[in-house]
């Protein structure tokens, strides 16, 4: 496979994880527009662990995920009080503060960035990305997911029938943060250089776009969205000057024509049913 396609696939894998991190949180009815911050935390922490502490990558990623998950849980507590757009705005504020922190964090380069990581192949990226995707898909069939859906659909009712909505929402946030952190660690080691600007508002928006466009009701939707967001700019190269406008138009179009995103349950059923029938 050409090195060009390999790197595009690696990018998709990283974006897939970012999208999943938003998807998991979205499943409980919370929109997080700040997962770029968790990605950044994962990127910086895992890089420090491998470069300065000489830890193997797998261990570094696991530790970063756990730390980010913890931070996510802490952030989720006050976030419980906020709904809808306000929660989204709070996550934006949080992400800006994290980015500002890394910009001033001279120990890891500040605005000058941090480098020294060992390059990892697209295979390694997809080992993690694919594995987590499968894990989420399995999770979707579990009782835990049902509880998350219940919280998503009507939180008051869910509380009334005895579900611990607090625990559900906080766990979702923590899980999302952990997945985003792994995306960050893989990003850092694929690019071998990171700087605070990589993890800003734009990154968080990319994650949300991947989920919304690809399919916000099923986990594989994040995969479709990630592939779309990475490969589409390459396909649109001939209209370089108007690429961004074309992309914006596509976003509006998809939202108008197919709100749930490209992939949804009935489409999956149609695809798999077809295969069974054949």
């Amino acid at each position: 496979m050409s090195t060009y396609y390999a790197s595009l696939l690696a990018e998709s894998g990283i974006l897939l994880l970012g999208a999943l991190s938003v998807y998991i949180i979205l499943a409980t009815g919370q929109l997080s527009l700040g997962n770029g911050a968790f990605m950044g935390i994962g990127a910086y922490l895992s890089s420090w662990l491998t470069v300065t502490m000489h830890m193997p990558l797998t261990l570094a990623l696991v530790i970063s995920a756990l730390v980010a998950g913890l931070i996510g849980a802490v952030v989720a507590f006050p976030a419980l009080r906020l709904k809808g757009i306000y929660l989204a705005m709070a996550t934006v504020g949080f992400a800006e503060m994290v980015r500002s922190f890394f910009l001033n964090f001279e120990a890891m380069g500040g605005s000058g960035g941090f480098r020294g990581m060992q390059h990892i192949s697209v295979g390694t990226v997809w080992l993690w990305a694919g594995g987590i995707l499968i894990a989420v898909m399995l999770l979707e069939r579990s009782r835990v997911w049902l509880e998350m859906q219940a919280v998503h659909d009507d939180e008051t009712a869910a509380g009334l029938i005895g579900l611990n909505t607090t625990a559900t929402k906080i766990s979702a946030f923590a899980a999302g943060a952990a997945v985003a952190a792994i995306a960050g660690g893989l990003f850092a080691h694929h690019n071998v250089y990171i700087e605070p600007a990589n993890f800003g508002f734009e990154r968080s928006v990319d994650f949300v776009l991947a989920v919304i466009l690809g399919g916000s009701t099923v986990a594989p939707g994040s995969l479709v969205g990630a592939l779309l967001l990475v490969f589409l700019p390459e396909v649109l190269r001939p209209i370089a000057d108007w690429r961004l406008a074309a992309f914006g138009s596509l976003l509006v179009l998809v939202l108008l024509v197919r709100r749930q995103g490209i992939l949804d349950r009935s489409l999956i059923r149609a695809l798999t049913f077809r295969r069974l029938a054949a």
């Binding site: 090195t3 990018e11 250089y193 396909v235 961004l244 149609a270 029938a277």
Partner: protein
């Protein structure tokens, strides 16, 4: 059963179309021998203007070369890809040019952020990449032997600019303000300038509390008011010219008319309009009104093409990055002519290595501002000029050279 529409072929069709259109159009260079070079520039995004003017400069060079008979009889083709100043896109553009289009060498990427990610890829793929604008200290140094930069480390430039600044305006104390979000500007403002200022026995009025702002900030009134209260003889603005303009205008508005000194990032025609009565001292390797046969010819040829280009302002002039990228590709062409590069697919690896060795050993290449070579860090050894921008024009004040030990000077 018939109710279920056959979506699968539908989806596959869309994906197939997308995949096919993403495949590179097979470069049929079998018949006429072709020399294929690549360039990565930001044609969209926040630096779109630089990328587009770079593209015009490269197309000019391509045409000039082919009109003069090509390179040893072969036609020159320059493929230009857009990285939108995004590091990931710069890396994939480099991979595409190197792996799919199999170019012999690459010019770009432009920004240091993009270079930091693309240079390691150049080393991985063993193809030369030379940046036309990156001046963040150490970017090429960390990525030897395949990364080069046709720019001078800002530390070297400051060592000549500051003494002139001190003498010309009788400066004793300075205050520093820098763009905290810009890596090069931060390094200049926090490390390079303070060191050079102190070496020249200048006092930094806000040594423990350097002022900063962020790229894109609209309002720097608070910072300028504080600058004013320090009452310095001169001001250091470490920022790209588009951001420095904001500071200069605020200085003028608040009546802080003091001379300004900065890094090569300040060089542009736009900054001359910001506050014409404030003298701006900055180092440059090229500017549009430069005297000399080579630069004047270049400017005369390029300016009408730039002004004709849609999407560029009507009063645009060639800038330092245009000159730099023109020089870079000219060096590649020279390398190909002189080192026996064949351009044949089976010689790709050998050809690329020949270009790398040429660049490593280069000295005295006729650039637009004087002779060019490269030092051990991969940065350029070339002549530069300390310019004073005032009342709408740049004037050359001092000529310097970024010479390095064990390498010939300018």
């Amino acid at each position: 059963m018939s109710r279920i529409k056959s979506n699968l072929p539908h989806i596959l069709g869309i994906l197939a179309v997308a995949a096919v259109s993403a495949l590179p159009a097979g470069s049929a260079q079998a018949q006429t021998r072709e020399i294929h070079l690549g360039a990565v520039v930001p044609s969209s995004g926040p630096f779109a203007e630089w990328g587009r003017s770079n593209t015009v400069a490269l197309k000019l060079l391509e045409q000039q070369t082919n009109d003069a008979g090509g390179i040893n009889g072969a036609k020159l083709k320059i493929s230009i890809l857009d990285d939108a100043a995004k590091p990931a896109q710069a890396a994939t553009s480099l991979r595409k040019l190197s792996g799919d289009d199999k170019v012999l060498a690459i010019a770009g990427p432009l920004t240091s952020s993009a270079a930091e990610v693309a240079f390691p890829v150049a080393n991985e793929l063993k193809v030369v990449a030379t940046s036309q604008a990156s001046s963040k200290p150490g970017t090429a140094k960390q990525n030897r032997p395949w990364a080069f930069r046709n720019t001078i480390d800002e530390g070297v430039l400051a060592k000549t600019a500051v003494p002139y600044f001190k003498k010309a305006f009788n400066v004793k104390t300075v205050a520093i303000i820098f763009d905290a979000k810009d890596a090069t500007a931060s390094t200049v403002g926090k490390l390079i300038m303070p060191a050079v200022l102190k070496a020249n026995e200048l006092t930094i009025a806000n040594d423990n509390d350097l002022l900063s702002f962020n790229t894109g900030d609209l309002d720097v009134s608070a910072q300028v008011t504080k600058l004013k209260s320090l009452n310095p003889d001169g001001v250091v603005i470490a920022a790209d010219y588009s951001q420095a303009i904001t500071v200069l205008r605020e200085m003028k508005r608040q009546g802080l008319i003091k001379p300004v000194v900065g890094a090569s990032q300040l060089i542009s025609s736009a900054i001359l309009k910001a506050a014409p009565e404030i003298p701006v001292i900055a180092p440059a390797t090229f500017y549009a009104t430069m005297k000399g046969e080579a630069p004047e010819k270049f400017t005369a040829a390029l300016t009408p093409l730039l002004r004709k280009e849609s999407g560029l302002p009507k009063d645009i002039e060639p800038n330092m990055f245009d000159a730099n990228i023109y020089e870079i590709v000219s060096m590649y062409i020279d390398a190909i002519k002189k080192t026996g590069v064949t351009g044949k697919p089976e010689d790709l690896e050998a050809d690329r290595t020949k270009i790398r060795d040429y660049m490593t050993k280069l000295e005295g290449f006729p650039g637009l501002g004087g002779p060019i070579g490269f030092n051990d860090d991969g940065d350029a050894i070339k002549a530069f000029y300390v310019l004073q921008g005032q009342n709408g024009t740049w004037d050359t004040k001092v000529r310097g050279c970024s010479s390095a030990p064990n390498h010939p000077g300018c």
